[in-house]
Structure formats: structure tokens, C-alpha cells
Subunit: 285 residues, 2 copies
DNA sequence: CGGCCAGTTGATTATTCTCAACGCGCGTGG
DNA sequence: CCACGCGCGTTGAGAATAATCAACTGGCCG
């Protein structure tokens, strides 16, 4: 394997159990990962650790959904295969990320989960999630937040996909990765991307050559240094400038009154602690 | 308003309460909407109906998150505004859709929700969702499914955004809208899109002229008829052909062993039936 | 009427993809 | 050992695609 020595080096850098070194659940909720919070709430239930080596499948598209997987150490990617044969890398996952949230509704995984590096996952039986939730409301709330976070992250990525040209997407990708690495205690400036140009391009809707050219140009501009899959961020503002350069030519937004439904409801119908048992109240127009 | 007469016509076509005519919760889970199932589980809690007219804000980016909104009748869109000023239409929502799922984690709405047409929403206090979940496991399961569905839908859209050229995206958009309309009892072939070319383009990462040209070309090919914002699908296979034309030139997928982590776990640790939540329904494979 | 907005269409430009060549590291097998 | 293949990455030239700029239509409304 071309990256075997690289991955060995990385694995040595991981703590044995990432969650052991993360802050406790009650502290600084935003600073830790959804995965760690949920795992800490289900420690007594059947959780399996599994060490995996690069290239291993964590799950496969079409597999029956039984487990939420929390990435405990290492890195993984998800590859989506649509029914008409298109395939692409859809996500890159860091320790603390939860995989499989998209599989709950369908009852089957919709994409392949593949270890990029040696990695270790905690497989939480969905049955246990359900069972624990009945006695532990905090877990349910955490799950809601984890789902919600995932949706928000996807939206943010889509926003970049839709509104930015190639170089802007690459710049946004680098800054995003920097944030995600930093949030997990990795370096925010020396990014071990671990993904091929092809995989990065697939995530961004670009061809591998376009990704390579963007990296080369950023390096020429002094914004980054490129050493194969390690990218060193030198000038964050410069990268932000790349993004800003392509934005701003959008239309001005339609002006509108400053009211909103929820604001109105809050004013007009303050929430009463008592549950009103009645038919749904229909406001006449 | 350019579409006021159109919207009046549409409003007349809505049943007074869409959920009243939808199948009951237990039947045909896939055929009904997440919103209807959840609403039917919280009928006794403070739910507010509000009629809205076109252009009204249902919620605004930055508003404190208090309510999940179930669109009961009419159509709405969500507009995302990123911190650096980019703005775009991110979603188009039909009766039965749930809005605000992405706001749970942040505690605030991240995008504007805007009525496209006269529409009516059920605002479900998140407090009530939490409270009811503690006594009603079925509701929690439904919520999980709703979240999960949303993630899956976003993924599917992103797949199209990343892998398809302009015409492919438009074709995929039309077929997707057809499915969504059909699932809610609207015509699957005569689509009242209700969105401007600009809004459609924004969702697909295209400029309005590109959308217009795609429509024109599809019409010239006899695949659709275009009457402003009403699109009549004439040849679904033809539209699929447009999509297929651009796919298939992807790389062959990396070959890999047929094992996966979850399959392995399944073999080693069979799930005990006692853990199974009776509410949970997994689609057979 | 005249302005405005949504939509269509054409001409031109810019961006990105495609195709191709090449370098490099690393394994494999002669 | 070294040649070779192969995967990954870079770079260039040309082709294809989509964006941009611009003109024009039609409906609506003040």
C-alpha cells in the first residue's frame, strides 16, 4: 500500500480511546463531538469495538441497518452509489463522527462506509439506542442534536457546492477540514487529508485534475504548502479571499417584512405548560 | 403578485386538512409523510395552525428554535444565507414536510422559511416533542426516521449536484418533484412547480438561463411541455436518458472483499429479540 | 402608457472537463 | 538487482459546458 507507513504513523498518534480524553458530557457541549456524548450515555449497553485496517468496509450499501457507528479512532469515508450506477465519495469522517444516521429511515445503509486509515469504531445497536432512550431522555435529545447537526453540515456543504466555483470549493473544503480537525485536537494548519485528489474532487463535484490545479495555484499564491496529502495552511485570510472573490455577485435578496411565523406565535400564543387536549386550533385567515 | 390567481386556484384544490385524508399511521408507512405521522402522535399537545399568504416568513434565519413546523397545506421554500453573504434557495417543501429539523442542534433556525403559496403549518413546540417522547416511544422512533429521511434526501440531492451536468440536474429535479408530488396525491405528470427559474437554478447550482434552456430543449425533444411554472412530463424514460447520458463515464469502483463490519458483527453477536422495540419497523431487504 | 418582473433566446466569454503526457514511489517478478 | 507495471499526482492543450451579457417578449400594475 502506498500509504501504509503514513497510516501507521498516524495510528500511533491516536489515543487508545479518544473519548477517554474528551471532556465529560456536561461540560462544553459544543466543543466535543456528538459521537462522544452519545457513547457516554450508552456505555452499559452492548457496544462493540472493532479495529479495522485501511480499505475495510465498515458497512455496505444495502446492508440491513442495525448499528449506529461511532468512529472512535482513525478516519473513514462514505461512498454513495446511486441506483443508476453513479458513484462517488460523499463524506470524510473523523473520530467522534457518527455514521449510519441516514440509514435509520430506510432500514438499510445507503452508502458504503470504508476505512481510510486503520480505524476503530463503536457499533451501537440501534435497538439499544431505542431502549436506552426510553429511560434516558438526555440520550434522545443528544440523538436529535446529532441528526440535526448532520443535516446542517450537509446543507453547508451543499451551499458551497452550489454557489462556489472550483477554487472556492477547494478553499472552503480546506477551511472546513481545518475546523473539523481542530475540534478534535488535531492540528488546524497541518492537515493530513488522507484522501486522494479523486476522492476530494468527488466530494466537491470536481474532477481530480481541477483539485490538483487548485492546490497548485494556492501554493503558488503562498496560501498553502502541498506535500501530497498533507496540506499546510499558511494564509487563512487568503483562502477566505478566494471564496469571497466568487461570491457577492448574487442577486440582492427580496426585501420582506421582519415578521416571521414563529415570532408571531411566540407573541400571540405563549406556551402554556399545561397540555391542551383539544382539536387542533385553526386560526381563521 | 404575478402568481396570486394561480395560488388561489391551488389553495382551492387543497383539502382542508391534508392529514385527514392520508392513510392512518399504521398503514403503508412509506407512502405517507413523516410530518403526518408525527402530527398524529402529538394531537393532544399545543399545536397551532396558521394560515399564511405567499411571501410570508414562516421563520427566519437566526430566530430562536422553538417549533418544528409541519407544512399542512400549501408550499414553502427555504432560503439559506451563509455568514459570508451567499444566499440561495435550498429547498422546496410540500405538504407533510417537516421544517426546522436542521435547527435543533444550533437552537436557532439556520435558514429562512418562506411561504411560496398560501400555506398552513402546524407548529409543534419542540418542548412538546421532547415531553411526548418520554411517554411515547413511537414518537421518538418517528422523529429519528424523519431526521434520517431528511439526511438521505439531502444526500441524494447532493449526489445529483456533484455528478450531473446542467441538463441532467434539471431532469433529475423534474423526476424528483414528480415523485414527491405523487407521494402526496398530486399529479405526477402535471407539476405545478411554483418556483421561478431563478429559484430552481439556485437549488440546482445553475443560473436561471441554464434552467430555462434546459426546459426549452426538453420541450423541443418532446420530453416535457412547459407552461411557465407548470411542467407536464411527457416522457419519463427520455428524462432518465438525459440523466444516463452524463453518467456511466465514472471510474470503475475499487474492487474489495464482500465483507463489512456490520455483517461481521451480525454473525458474531446476534441481536436478542428482547431488545427489539416493537415500534421499530425495518423495511425488509 | 411605462416600468417592472419573469421568462426566453442569442452571442460571447469564462470555467471546467477531457485527453494526454509525464514523474514519482512502490511493489512485483524476471 | 533492476525493469516493469500501477496508482497517484501534476501539468498542458483543446474541447465542451455553463455563465455572462444583452436583447426581446408578455403579463401585470400603478
Amino acid at each position: 500500500m502506498a500509504n501504509s507507513c503514513l497510516s501507521m504513523h498516524q495510528v500511533d498518534a491516536y489515543p487508545d480511546n479518544l473519548f477517554a480524553v474528551l471532556p465529560p458530557v456536561t461540560a462544553c457541549m459544543d466543543a466535543t463531538t456528538p459521537g462522544s456524548r452519545i457513547v457516554s450515555l450508552i456505555t452499559d449497553s452492548p457496544i462493540r469495538h472493532r479495529s479495522r485496517k485501511p480499505g475495510d468496509y465498515l458497512f455496505r450499501a444495502g446492508d440491513e441497518f442495525r448499528f449506529l457507528l461511532v468512529l472512535n479512532a482513525g478516519f473513514a469515508k462514505t461512498c454513495y452509489v446511486s441506483e443508476d450506477g453513479r458513484e462517488q465519495t460523499t463524506g470524510f469522517h473523523l473520530p467522534g463522527d457518527i455514521l449510519g444516521l441516514d440509514a435509520v429511515a430506510a432500514g438499510a445503509y445507503g452508502c458504503d462506509g470504508i476505512a481510510v486509515d486503520a480505524c476503530e469504531v463503536l457499533a451501537i445497536p440501534y435497538d439499544a439506542v431505542i431502549a436506552h432512550g426510553q429511560s434516558n431522555p438526555a440520550l434522545v435529545g443528544e440523538l436529535y442534536r446529532a441528526f440535526s447537526s448532520e443535516i446542517r453540515n450537509e446543507r453547508d456543504l451543499m451551499l458551497s457546492l452550489r454557489s462556489l466555483p472550483a477554487e472556492g470549493r477547494v478553499a472552503a473544503f480546506l477551511l472546513e477540514m481545518s475546523l473539523r480537525f481542530a475540534a478534535r485536537g488535531f492540528s488546524a494548519t497541518e492537515l493530513q487529508l488522507r484522501l486522494t485528489r479523486q476522492e476530494i474532487g468527488s466530494m466537491l463535484g470536481l474532477k481530480l485534475e481541477t483539485v490538483s490545479r487548485a492546490f497548485s495555484r494556492f501554493a503558488k499564491l503562498g496560501l498553502i504548502n502541498v506535500y501530497l496529502r498533507e496540506i499546510v495552511l499558511l494564509d487563512r485570510d487568503g483562502l477566505l479571499g478566494i471564496i469571497a472573490k466568487s461570491t457577492g455577485r448574487d442577486r440582492v435578496r427580496r426585501k420582506a417584512p421582519v415578521t416571521s411565523l414563529t415570532a408571531g406565535i411566540h407573541d400571540v400564543f405563549p406556551i402554556s405548560p399545561a397540555m391542551r387536549n383539544s382539536d387542533r386550533h385553526i386560526a381563521s385567515q
